[in-house]
């Protein structure tokens, strides 16, 4: 019991005094995961829109592949990105393994299917005649897509949150392609794993509390958006 209590006290201490190392780790976590989410939003929403608005053979298969991808294990992505970026791998010449950029790439790969899947569901959930109605009002194809996205803006925001929530809490890929290098690629999850391994529970707890706070903030936003539904 004392250990946990001490841990929490230490954690609060680290938080209140704004420990420089903890601060940097947190900021890097936010930076890497936000960048990855941004990339996944651009790719995911584009793909989701294209899939939702066109009919082609194999569309259902593609949709189930995307939905399967929503549960892509981070370690598998980590392995894949590691191989790709390995010194004598296909993209080894870039020399970016064990950098924050490699972590952004891995996390973007994890978040993209999540964002795509949720966005696709959101767009497909819109009334099927809505597209025709928008075109009938004189919209170009681009204007039509823009209005559709505005109509699905709340679920699309939820897609962004889901993607972010997925990668901020992910550890496998980050440790594999980032390497948990102190002051360079160490993020909240990888640091927690390391400190726990070393028996430094106070620090581990402090890092976990911060991670929980970030997760809570994301979920609070999500819930707030969902509860903001207007009368029907």
């Amino acid at each position: 019991m004392d250990m946990i209590l001490d841990g929490i006290l230490k954690a609060l201490c680290l938080l209140v005094t704004l420990d420089a190392e903890v601060r940097d780790i947190t900021l890097l976590s936010l930076a890497v995961s936000s960048s990855a989410t941004l990339v996944s939003l651009v790719v995911g929403v584009t793909v989701a829109t294209a899939v939702a608005l066109t009919e082609f053979p194999g569309k259902r298969l593609l949709i189930s592949l995307i939905n399967t991808g929503m549960g892509l294990p981070p370690v598998v992505v980590g392995l894949f990105v590691s191989i790709m970026l390995w010194r004598n791998g296909p993209f080894g010449f870039l020399g970016i393994l064990y950098t924050p950029l490699a972590m952004v790439i891995a996390q973007a790969l994890i978040a993209t299917p999540i964002v795509t899947g949720v966005s696709l569901a959101a767009l497909q959930h819109l009334p099927k005649d809505l597209r025709l109605q928008i075109l009938a009002l004189g919209a170009t194809r681009r204007q039509m897509v823009w209005i559709l996205m505005k109509e699905a803006r709340l679920p699309l925001l939820a897609a962004a949150m889901a993607g972010f929530g997925g990668v901020i809490s992910e550890v496998g890929a980050s440790i594999m392609v980032g390497g948990n290098i102190k002051g360079y690629t160490r993020v909240l999850t990888t640091a927690t794993v390391m400190e726990t391994g070393r028996g430094n529970f106070e620090v581990a707890i402090a890092l976990s509390v911060i991670l929980l706070l970030v997760a809570f903030a994301v979920n609070a936003c999500l819930t707030w958006i969902q509860q903001r539904r207007r009368p029907r």
């Binding site: 009334p127 005649d129 809505l130 025709l132 109605q133 075109l135 009938a136 009002l137 004189g138 919209a139 170009t140 204007q143 209005i147 505005k150 109509e151 803006r153 207007r230 009368p231 029907r232």
Partner: protein
């Protein structure tokens, strides 16, 4: 634009779905200011035809607007920007009524002050100015469909396509909207093609009735002609074998009106209508009595002599079509038919009560009638 060019001219229009032909329209024209009603059972292709005419579906064949092609990208967009469509569902956007009605204008690049003025005028015209700041999700069904109509009319289309716009509304709401739509179509001179299930709605609004079945047009003509002279048994069964007579209110007494019909006949009907109002009279065949001599009963206020044109067996009853100056039909049971010894060409008295005459106003301008 030459005056003889129709507003819309369609030829060889075909729509395929999954390799199967679902619509074939060899020829169809829509004149300036004309209101066409499409009727037909579910799956007859009414919605498909509307979407094809509105260029919202891939089609083969030609759709000429003011005599010009609407096929390629820019022409199709230009055409879509001069027409509008309203669906059965209001399909409003997740924003206020004002912004919903402004959408089409914004898409056309109209700016702030002009948008406010045009939206204001349109809301006023549809009697929904008070709803401007209301969120679209907080509207009743009738209000939402009014907003949807306003959104379509705000862009001042030359043609409006209406896909059963009132079919999910309750009767009083539908009644109000039908009357307003008729008034606004006449005021704005907008041509319209409207799919409907409601024959009365079709009669009230339309200059031309178009009956569809299995992706084809089976009959097209003025409502009276289609109702009175159905082209085949299908049309007859679908439009109902009603007698439809147009006329003008000549006298108004307490609770009853006298209507002068086109052929110089007078009909008495129960109802409140204005003097001089243009109306359509419907008489259901089951309300018409045939007799060899003028009926003695005083309640049958409408009595006319006529000749039997055709007798059709319909199971338990026969439909007897009589020419009494205008075509009128009656249902007669088999024993009664024998008793009256009716034959095609024989003279007969036709009578029906004033309460059997259904009178409703004609909403459109009489220009095309």
């Amino acid at each position: 634009m030459r005056p003889e060019t129709p507003l819309l001219e369609v030829s060889g229009l075909r729509v395929y779905r999954g390799g199967v032909k679902v619509l074939e329209i060899p020829r169809l024209t829509l004149q300036d200011r004309e209101v066409k009603a499409l009727i037909g059972p579910n799956g007859a292709g009414k919605s498909t035809l509307l979407l094809a005419l509105a260029r919202l579906l891939p089609v083969t064949g030609r759709v000429l607007f003011h005599g010009r092609e609407t096929e390629n990208g820019t022409a199709a967009l230009a055409y879509r920007r001069r027409s509008a469509m309203v669906f059965q569902e209001p399909l409003l956007f997740d924003t206020t009524v004002f912004h919903n009605v402004a959408t089409g204008l914004k898409l056309r690049g109209m700016k702030g002050r002009d948008i406010r003025r045009r939206v204001g005028e349109t809301l006023e015209r549809f009697g929904i100015s008070h709803l401007a700041d209301r969120h679209a999700r907080a509207l009743s069904g009738g209000e939402a469909q009014r907003v949807s109509l306003a959104r379509a009319f705000a862009v001042q289309p030359e043609i409006i396509f209406l896909d059963e716009p009132f079919s999910s509304l309750d009767p009083p709401t539908r009644e109000g909207l039908t009357a307003d739509l008729g008034r606004i179509l006449a005021e704005t001179g907008t041509a319209a093609v409207m799919a409907t299930h409601d024959r009365i709605e079709a009669l009230r609004l339309a200059d031309t009735l178009l009956v569809m079945r299995q992706g084809n047009i089976v009959q097209e003509g003025p409502p009276q002609e289609v109702m009175n002279r159905p082209a085949d048994a299908f049309v007859a069964s679908f439009v109902g074998m009603e007698t439809v007579i147009s006329g003008e209110v000549e006298a108004v007494e307490e609770g009853t009106v006298t209507i002068a019909t086109a052929g110089g006949y007078r009909l008495e009907a129960v109802g409140n209508r204005r003097l001089g109002e243009r109306v359509m009279c419907c008489v259901r065949p089951e309300h018409v009595t045939l007799s060899p001599a003028p009926p003695a009963s005083a309640s049958a206020r409408n009595r006319l002599g006529g000749r039997v044109r055709r007798i059709e067996p319909l199971g338990f009853v026969h439909r007897v079509a009589v020419d009494a100056g205008f075509p009128i039909s009656a249902y007669v049971t088999t024993p009664a038919l024998q008793e009256l010894s009716l034959k095609e060409g024989s003279f007969v008295w036709v009578s029906f009560k004033a309460s059997a005459v259904l009178v409703f106003p004609v909403e459109t301008t009489p220009a095309l009638r």
